[in-house]
């Protein structure tokens, strides 16, 4: 599998248009992405987790209502890490398996507070709109 990956990246016969032209971000990315960021931060606020754990915890916390796709999770995690909201470290879990653990940073905690507040505001606004009709 690693070989296959590399071939796409560099040595293809016509090497010009793969990486930058691939459809990375789905439409309405901003809203969805922002929401996903908040969910991940919230999941990590209870303690460090690996990627699989993040998916599981989001499912538990939302009482099975929300499920996050792996394909969306990792890019989001990496993006958040680059912004300095979480830090990552390779470690072993309770059963001795190697995994990369993500931990919320102080900056991430502040960001979570900001996002939660703005979500609450939005939810409140939507609720009021609906009541008024």
């Amino acid at each position: 599998m690693p070989n296959q990956f590399r071939r796409q990246g560099r040595d293809a016969a016509v090497p010009l248009w793969n990486l930058s032209e691939a459809p990375v971000t789905p439409p309405k990315a901003d809203l969805l992405q922002g929401t996903l960021d908040m969910l991940i931060l919230k999941a990590l606020s209870l303690g460090p987790l690996h990627g699989y754990g993040v998916i599981q915890r989001i499912r538990q916390m939302s009482e099975e209502l929300l499920s996050v796709e792996q394909g969306a999770l990792y890019p989001a995690l990496y993006r958040i890490e680059q912004k300095g909201w979480v830090s990552s470290k390779w470690d072993v879990n309770e059963t001795g398996r190697k995994a990369k653990f993500y931990r919320l940073t102080t900056k991430g905690r502040k960001q979570l507070a900001i996002e939660e507040a703005s979500w609450d505001l939005l939810a409140l606004a939507i609720a009021k709109m609906r009541q008024s009709t």
Partner: protein, 886 residues
């Protein structure tokens, strides 16, 4: 700072690509493992658990790729890919790459070399402390800058509130003896605050103190870096030692850093100013230069107003000398660069034309190449590459050409900056600091990138829009290629126009130079040797001693073998120096305004001066042995003086007084034709010649007891140097001889600046014309190639090869005519800026314009002729058979 984190993560992803990919894949695998484990916990069989985990994860490589999008190098990586691909495609086509890169190298190299000169000489701030506060201060009357008188200087210094320091300098030349041959060096007398005003600290020791000035004070000297290295072997313990200046011991108190000397011909040592009582009273002697340092926060305009106010007040205090005299300040930087700025910018303009033409040539090469790569580009487009993506790839290729060309150009610039330093006139301030430094490096980099864009954009935009259907049909003739052909033609036209402008500039300089060589010197310069010398005051105190020495010397030199006649004079023709003095003609009222006072240049000559030069006294008589010190004082005037000061009268037997220490008036006994004293291009000034025996001690002090020996030789003048030296050293072996020059050399030096300017602009013009010819040739050859099927059909249908030749030539002629027309208009507008550089040549000289237009048209048509001839030899059969026709 979030963007910085992201950038550094991107950079990491780019530089440590393998590690990042490894990390992502590891994490994905770990994810699957964890999911499998969870499935087993839920009671699934291990195989099923793994299968289910992989299924729910989805396409692992796709997931990794999506993740890599975030963590990888992104744009950086795409750029890197493009770069590698660009280098690879270029190396597959070494001929094209070499031609393109060399063309760019020629353009950027020449541009960078000239820029290194422009930067060092014009743009760079002066190497002083807070140089923007340093001013050049001069006196000014009726549009003319003048030096300060000593009383003016002291009053300005005492009253200027806007200035922290006002320092004065006076030129001097001194004899150095001891430690090697006696030598005459340029020195300066400076006030104690001079170095402070400039903002330069001594490298070793100290500058001057006010206590160094008074007459009784120990004699001290500050050395320049050049003199210290050259004559004193960079002796590190020089401070405190004594050296002999004009035969008297002076203690070295300090040593200045190299940057203080802006010119290699400037002062090499400094002495305290120590104004003499006579200088302090001389209200007419404007011999001081002044440097001011403004107080912090003061603008030059405020300093100007301040000093002008002081000068206004002094008009009442010393009306006879100061009426209408005001002060003029400008930044020292401005006054230093004023002399070269225009020439430097014209050179830079000329060389940037060369760069533009080079870019045009490369653009044409790229266009032709893009046509050949039409198929490859089309395939990419069909496979889904977007237009920006293809254009970006092509632009990256251009950037590779531009940057590699720029790197080669930098080497060229490094090499040619050294040559420039050697050939440009040495009196250009800061010329020797021309070098390829970080600024020039940055400039070259920027110019290379700019050039890449210039020559890359149009071809990239054209080529990245292939007609896909035609590409797939392997069809070569397309509407795109007509558009491309039009672009090529436009570029070739522009090249012709640019080359024409440059050639006109070179042509004007050439014509001006020829005019300069044809100037009537007024004397015979052949076989004439000149050498300057000076007598020390210590051993030649009186006027009689000095005069006797020089007369005897002239007599001895005349008797030396190989010398036909000889004379001594205070100033030789073409050497471009002298000093002027005011004159009052007897029997005329004193003019009301100071500036109407007649001024003449005063020259002291021995009796054989005019015969030695080959100048015939036009009227009256020459000097003779009867003109002794106690005989009636006499003078000879030149034609300019006669015309200006005796417009309606005969100067002969007229009497006048000079502003010197002679009580008796001087009688004009002769009139001589004008001789070029100040240089070929300079107009002749009124001159008064005085016989050497009648020079007073005051005159000798003005002259610093220095004279020029002139010898007319029977053979090569340089060969007579030895006999003059012999004659001098027989009389006194302690005397330095310097400025040994034949009149031929002086004449060449006198047009040296013009010669160098012509050589440089001429070289650029030649390069431009060659490049433009190559460009036109390339475009025509390419068009003939593109049209070879059409031509084949014409020939097959019975067209006469001569008609084909005419058809192609007509095409080229049209292109040339448009280029020449645009170029002529451009030249008409641009050459006005050269006005100051041209001697007796109007910047729109029709002869030059016509000649250059003809030359360019001829060259362009020759460049068209070769491809046109080839067109007539197209084989109709093979042209019809081949689909592409190329």
């Amino acid at each position: 700072m979030t963007w910085l984190n992201i950038l550094s993560a991107r950079l990491r992803g780019f530089l440590r690509r393998e590690a990042v990919i490894e990390d992502i894949e590891e994490e994905m695998r770990s994810h699957v493992e964890l999911a499998t484990e969870a499935n087993i916990c839920r009671g699934m069989r291990p195989d099923d658990a793994r299968h289910a985990a992989m299924k729910s994860f989805g396409n692992l490589s796709r997931m990794s790729e999506l993740a890599y999008e975030v963590r990888g190098g992104g744009m950086l990586e795409a750029l890197w890919q493009d770069l590698r691909f660009g280098v690879r495609t270029l190396s597959k086509n070494p001929g094209f790459a070499a031609v393109a890169i060399l063309t760019v190298a020629l353009g950027t190299g020449a541009t960078s070399a000239i820029f290194s000169f422009v930067y060092a000489v014009v743009l760079r701030p002066l190497p002083y402390h807070e140089p923007e506060r340093v001013l050049s201060v001069v006196a000014h009357r009726n549009g003319r800058d003048m030096g300060l008188t000593a009383p003016d200087y002291l009053d300005w210094r005492a009253n200027a509130k806007s200035l922290e320091q006002l320092a004065a300098t006076a030129g001097a030349t001194v004899n150095l003896t001891g430690r090697g041959e006696p030598e005459r060096v340029v020195a300066a007398r400076v006030s104690a605050n001079y170095f402070e005003a400039l903002g330069v600290s001594p490298a070793v020791g100290r500058g001057f103190l006010w206590t160094d000035e008074p007459d009784g004070a120990p004699r001290v000297v500050v050395l320049g870096d050049g003199l210290w290295r050259r004559r004193l072997d960079a002796d590190p313990r020089i401070v405190g030692q004594t050296i002999a200046i004009n035969g008297e011991p002076h203690t070295v108190v300090g040593n200045m850093p190299p940057q203080l000397s802006l010119r290699s011909t400037g002062a090499q040592l400094w002495l305290p100013l120590n104004l003499t009582p006579r200088e302090l009273q001389a209200t007419g002697a404007r011999f001081l230069g002044a440097i001011g340092r403004m107080r912090p926060g003061i603008t030059p305009a405020q300093a100007q107003a301040d000093l002008a106010g002081i000068a206004k007040g002094l008009e009442k205090v010393r009306p006879q000398s100061n009426v209408n005299v005001t002060a003029r300040v400008r930044s020292l930087h401005e006054s230093v660069v004023a002399q070269v700025r225009d020439s430097a910018f014209i050179l830079f303009g000329a060389v940037s034309f060369v760069l533009l033409i080079a870019c045009a040539n490369v653009a044409n090469l790229l266009l032709a190449r893009a046509t050949r790569r039409r198929h490859e580009i089309g395939v990419r487009a069909v496979l889904g590459a977007s237009r920006p993506r293809i254009a970006r790839q092509l632009l990256t290729e251009s950037a590779v050409i531009g940057l590699v060309g720029g790197a080669v150009g930098l080497a060229l610039a490094y090499w040619s900056a050294g040559i420039l330093k050697g050939i440009l006139p040495q009196d250009i301030p800061r010329l020797q600091q021309t070098r390829v430094n970080a600024i020039v490096f940055g400039f070259t980099f920027a110019v290379s990138l700019l050039a890449s864009v210039l020559f890359g954009v149009a071809p990239a935009l054209k080529a990245s829009r292939p007609d896909l259907q035609q590409v797939l049909r392997e069809e070569s003739r397309s509407s795109g290629s007509v558009r491309r052909r039009r672009l090529s033609r436009t570029i070739a036209t522009a090249e012709i126009a640019l080359a024409l402008v440059l050639l006109v500039a070179a042509g004007l300089l050439l014509r001006s130079f020829v005019r300069l060589q044809q100037v009537d010197l007024g004397f015979n310069p052949a076989n004439l040797l000149t050498v300057r010398m000076a007598l020390p005051e210590a051993r030649y105190g009186t006027a009689a001693q000095v005069a006797t020495f020089y007369q005897e010397l002239a007599e001895r030199v005349r008797r030396e073998p190989g010398v036909t006649t000889a004379a001594v004079a205070s100033h030789a023709p073409l050497a471009g120096n002298g000093f002027s003095i005011s004159m009052s003609i007897e029997g005329r009222p004193q003019p009301a305004r100071v500036e109407d006072q007649p001024m003449v240049f005063l020259r002291f000559v021995s009796s054989d001066y005019f015969p030695t030069l080959g100048v015939r006294v036009a009227r009256g008589r020459d000097f003779n042995s009867a003109d002794r010190p106690n005989a009636p004082t006499v003078a000879i005037v030149n034609e300019t003086a006669a015309r200006r000061y005796w417009p309606d009268a005969d100067p002969l037997r007229s009497r006048f007084r000079l502003d010197d220490d002679r009580e008796a008036g001087v009688e004009v006994v002769g009139l001589v034709p004008d001789v070029k004293h100040f240089g070929l291009a300079q107009s002749t000034e009124p001159e008064v010649f005085v016989p050497l025996p009648q020079a007073t001690l005051m005159h000798w002090q003005w002259l610093q007891r220095s004279m020029i020996v002139l010898a007319r030789t029977s053979g090569e003048p340089e060969a007579a140097a030895g006999v003059i030296r012999h004659a001098v050293w027989t009389l006194d072996d302690q005397l330095p001889l310097y400025n040994l020059r034949s009149m031929g050399q002086l004449r060449a030096d006198s047009s040296g600046d013009e010669r160098i300017g012509l050589a440089l602009v001429g070289t650029f013009a030649a390069i431009a014309v060659i490049l433009a010819a190559i460009g036109v040739y390339g475009v025509m050859a390419f068009m003939v190639g593109e049209r070879s099927r059409e031509i084949g059909i014409r020939l097959a249908l019975g067209a006469n090869p001569r008609d084909v030749l005419r058809m192609i030539l007509r095409d080229g002629a049209w292109l040339t005519a448009v280029g020449v027309f645009i170029g002529l208009i451009g030249a008409f507008v641009l050459t006005r800026m050269m006005q100051a550089l041209l001697f007796e040549t109007p910047p729109t000289d029709p002869v030059t314009f016509a000649a250059v237009a003809a030359v360019i048209a001829l060259v362009a048509m020759l460049a068209c002729f070769v491809p046109a001839r080839r067109a007539t030899r197209v084989d109709p059969l093979s042209a019809l058979r081949s689909a592409s026709g190329i």
